[in-house]
Symmetry: D2
Subunit: 348 residues, 4 copies
Amino acid sequence: MGNTKYSFKNDYSELAHADIIDEIVKADSLQYEGYGDDVYCLRAAEMIKAQIQREDADIHFVTGGTQANLLAISSFLRPHESVIAVATGHIAVHETGAIESTGHKVNTIAGKNGKVTVSDIQQVLDTHTDEHMVKPRLVFVSNSTEVGTVYTKAELTAISNFCKSHDLLLYLDGARLGVALTSAHNDLTLPDLAALTDAFYIGGTKNGAMLGEAIVILNPALKSDFRFFIKQKGALLAKGSLIGIQFCRLFQGGLYFDLASHANQMAEKLADGIARLGYAFLAPCETNQIFPILPDRVIAELQKKYDFYRWSRVDTQNSAARLVTSWATEETAVDAFLGDLDENSHSQ
Amino acid sequence: MGNTKYSFKNDYSELAHADIIDEIVKADSLQYEGYGDDVYCLRAAEMIKAQIQREDADIHFVTGGTQANLLAISSFLRPHESVIAVATGHIAVHETGAIESTGHKVNTIAGKNGKVTVSDIQQVLDTHTDEHMVKPRLVFVSNSTEVGTVYTKAELTAISNFCKSHDLLLYLDGARLGVALTSAHNDLTLPDLAALTDAFYIGGTKNGAMLGEAIVILNPALKSDFRFFIKQKGALLAKGSLIGIQFCRLFQGGLYFDLASHANQMAEKLADGIARLGYAFLAPCETNQIFPILPDRVIAELQKKYDFYRWSRVDTQNSAARLVTSWATEETAVDAFLGDLDENSHSQ
Amino acid sequence: MGNTKYSFKNDYSELAHADIIDEIVKADSLQYEGYGDDVYCLRAAEMIKAQIQREDADIHFVTGGTQANLLAISSFLRPHESVIAVATGHIAVHETGAIESTGHKVNTIAGKNGKVTVSDIQQVLDTHTDEHMVKPRLVFVSNSTEVGTVYTKAELTAISNFCKSHDLLLYLDGARLGVALTSAHNDLTLPDLAALTDAFYIGGTKNGAMLGEAIVILNPALKSDFRFFIKQKGALLAKGSLIGIQFCRLFQGGLYFDLASHANQMAEKLADGIARLGYAFLAPCETNQIFPILPDRVIAELQKKYDFYRWSRVDTQNSAARLVTSWATEETAVDAFLGDLDENSHSQ
Amino acid sequence: MGNTKYSFKNDYSELAHADIIDEIVKADSLQYEGYGDDVYCLRAAEMIKAQIQREDADIHFVTGGTQANLLAISSFLRPHESVIAVATGHIAVHETGAIESTGHKVNTIAGKNGKVTVSDIQQVLDTHTDEHMVKPRLVFVSNSTEVGTVYTKAELTAISNFCKSHDLLLYLDGARLGVALTSAHNDLTLPDLAALTDAFYIGGTKNGAMLGEAIVILNPALKSDFRFFIKQKGALLAKGSLIGIQFCRLFQGGLYFDLASHANQMAEKLADGIARLGYAFLAPCETNQIFPILPDRVIAELQKKYDFYRWSRVDTQNSAARLVTSWATEETAVDAFLGDLDENSHSQ
């Protein structure tokens, strides 16, 4: 029933890591409280608080990233307040106007390598000065970003400090937080994130879980009544334990980091191999998404055997492709892809 | 890790029926398309179309009932249009204003035994006559209802005919459709529902699935761009196959109906036993939710061993309890409950 | 160009009191700041603060009552919070779902003579207990009410005290505040209102102005950024001075109260005359809206000469009519109406 | 009570043209139907239909431009559909997120001289290809634009044709339509606008009226239930005749065009004088808003005597000023300003 071509299209092609499935099978014989009040959700929340070293955090489990973003933002902001995000940001392009659907404008900025900079934020503040304009109130960052890059501790600290001194909230979309924190280019930790942001979420769907994201709220002013929002937006699972079970497993024995590390290693191998063949990249290769610039002819040949996106046109004969690896990516598939790329690069 | 008391609190205490878990385990080795474009979702949609005998229907899978309701209603209505629902209706009370959150008023009516009547609808139309009031546009019914009753074919046909002749849409919330269609009091079929409504949903969560509801859109005018709404409201699962797999299994070999029948049989046994002990009920016992009226003292005793809701006060010494059975309810638990009720009824 | 029949249909049939028109004519030769920052708006705000004896109040001028209500409520509440209002309340019926359009549910209660009671509020609180339901947060009252009655100081104080002790906001719709405060049945003052509510508005449109309502915010927690809401909802007039000029005139020399008193006197004369003819009323006659119960035949005859609403059917042969007087109602018209009623009552 | 400095800050500093005030004074002795059903609104609608040569058009009167825009757009679009506008567009910047507040994203494009181009629109369509992104559905143009330029008939026709062939709606914001249609650079007529757009509005506030914009809906598919939206958004004036009276006067004897012509003549005189002193402009001077580039020192001197905005910085020593003329601008004020500019340009 599965795909016929090997897929480097995304990091959610496989259902779930076998250990997670096992955990669900094991849990399926008892009765649990509904709506996330079960023992698994409670335990998973405790495990996450330990990981981030913040006993005071509020943890909520939801099914997906767009849902996490719209819940957090619509709960944190008043109707006239806006979000600042890079123009390539997921909420700015790929969430079908989910944020605007809750009434909030997204002020887009250019950014650099997919990352927000302090000067970008300053520019938005400079041009929003009175009640004829929205009031910028929350800075949205993703780690890793839409182009696979990661924030350094210095970069995120600068943004965090700027936000604190300008009455702005800092929210981090961690759909791909696993690969960010296990990137060779990373120097941030989960406790750092908890210290630098007002809220963030830890993505499960793209790192081995069937579904599930853990929203972490640090700022006490943002905590009240969050479950009302989860219910109102249709995001409160009757069988919340389904997500709790998975997060318990992910944070037991470091599975979460192991899975992400594997994705990064496969991406690194892929990137190294491609670079050795002489190709350049659209953005630095730092996590499990890489963007090699390849001749259109080569892309067409490779797409006969592999699923992946042609990302953007570079010139009349070359485009950037997007290749994504995951916890499930097989090394043999990487080798095969590199072999096919090598072969197609030489033939004419 | 599970509950310590046996629960008659709801029909979503257990994670999923073993056959469904098995199906997920079997599927977990391949790659699938994302966002519900996988082979399982496509096959499940075909199976549902066959069940309702409507090849032209659009089928969409989402994670829960509140989500299904808010997606359908916000997609079907223009901003000034309202929903008509009974005052006890799930959208009127127990969805944290999800419908209003999308901008639409819910006009509540009294109803009868939890069911909408034509005269109720007529009354709303009579009092909404111009642009100073909302424009009633969609009638919301649940089958089974919030008090466990079911619509007869005659009742639903009358509502459907009235809607058609008054330019009203008819939408049916089928969170508990399984127990409705397998009730001893039912004479409706899935093809009937498809013929009588503009859209409805088939609930999986409360009938053996981990999560999942199948939205069925019949009216061609309501079909366009529905996936934009699913994405915008944060309801598009990256790994949509998770729900597709479950619905494939539910509609294979009649499992969906078998599970619901079991729930009804357990409820009937419970209701018969309670009635034999001389107790009355708040509403007719027609599906898996029953509402016996019991002395407060007896309720307090029973709640030491069983989880269930005290539903509403009847007089100074008696209250209605809500007892819910499910596909997973054990007959021994029913027997035990009846035995304990008998014992507590005699003791003083 | 005007109506051909004399109208008792509402209190906004005439454009504006002559003194107000004069004031506008006088002002029309100079340049003013835009958006309500002009000298008239500033002066009118000071005059209102003096009237309510609250220098700390925030005053905002908008064009109409529905606008005032939706601005206040959408600014004061978070998305999951609801409004409590009587079922006959303007926001519950006659504002086309304006409140729901901003995302908030209106919890309706029965009330008594159009007025909210503490026990009504308590009942809503009792049935809204967790995150599966909206969170009631603001009590909406109108003075005078939709059926022309007024709150006594004791009644409003009881509601205010209850709200304070239950973390509820109290908001008063003063579309017809003039006739309420000058009613023979009134014992409330503007300073009382300022002390008892969190916010209210003083209606100009129905008391002699072309257009204009003055929103008064007392609770400091509700003040911030209100002008963002006014702009965002399309309610910020470029030429805000138009409303400022009118409120300056209304609160100069007590014109506001004089106009309202006239409306009440005309209503009282009308009510007394009707009562003398032996007719009963649907609700107590306390301000400028009265609801005599008349034979349908008589209503039909009177409607040939006068404009007014048939309000509701009382029995097969009698209906309640709604007669509204205003600052502009001519005593000769009242006399003529009573004469015609007398004549039609005797003829058969 | 008025301003102390002469204002070139905007075109809404004066309350209303004397002829309009006169008309209101004359009307103020009769009773009228409420909510825009009065004889003046009906007559004004007929006059506008005659002007645009479209008897089938629907005409609605509202109080301001942001209100007109949010009403039209929220009525015309489904929740997942977006608006395309230039980045400098009023809805994109200066309406406090009013459009997003109704749930719709605004896709901004660069434009040219404040005007939308077909290639801009094409680019948005190219990057919005499936349900993960909003669905662009309406093109928003302003005439005159935010930088005072006007669309030629060829430009608007090209956009209109593109929209028709790509299932896009074309909506024109005519807050300053008077100065656009009487510009020396204009070749469009009101009937042209009616033929080329799906809807547009004719601005009164910035062209001599106290308040009032006339929304014109041409596309039959967009007409239904528009009054429900007007009421729901708090935009339905009880005394709608106030706007009807003004539009009757504006379109009687060509006053609307005379007032706009005066504004343009004053701007042209101002622009010519400034150009003769050797200064350049930020954008072509085509209507009543001009943007001369002046030394900061000169701007500071002029602002001691005149009110106007410093618009944007050009280099370290020069900025663009925005000077706005209106129907009320006195030629002596223009002469005085030019004299002062001349003097300040020479002094050091």
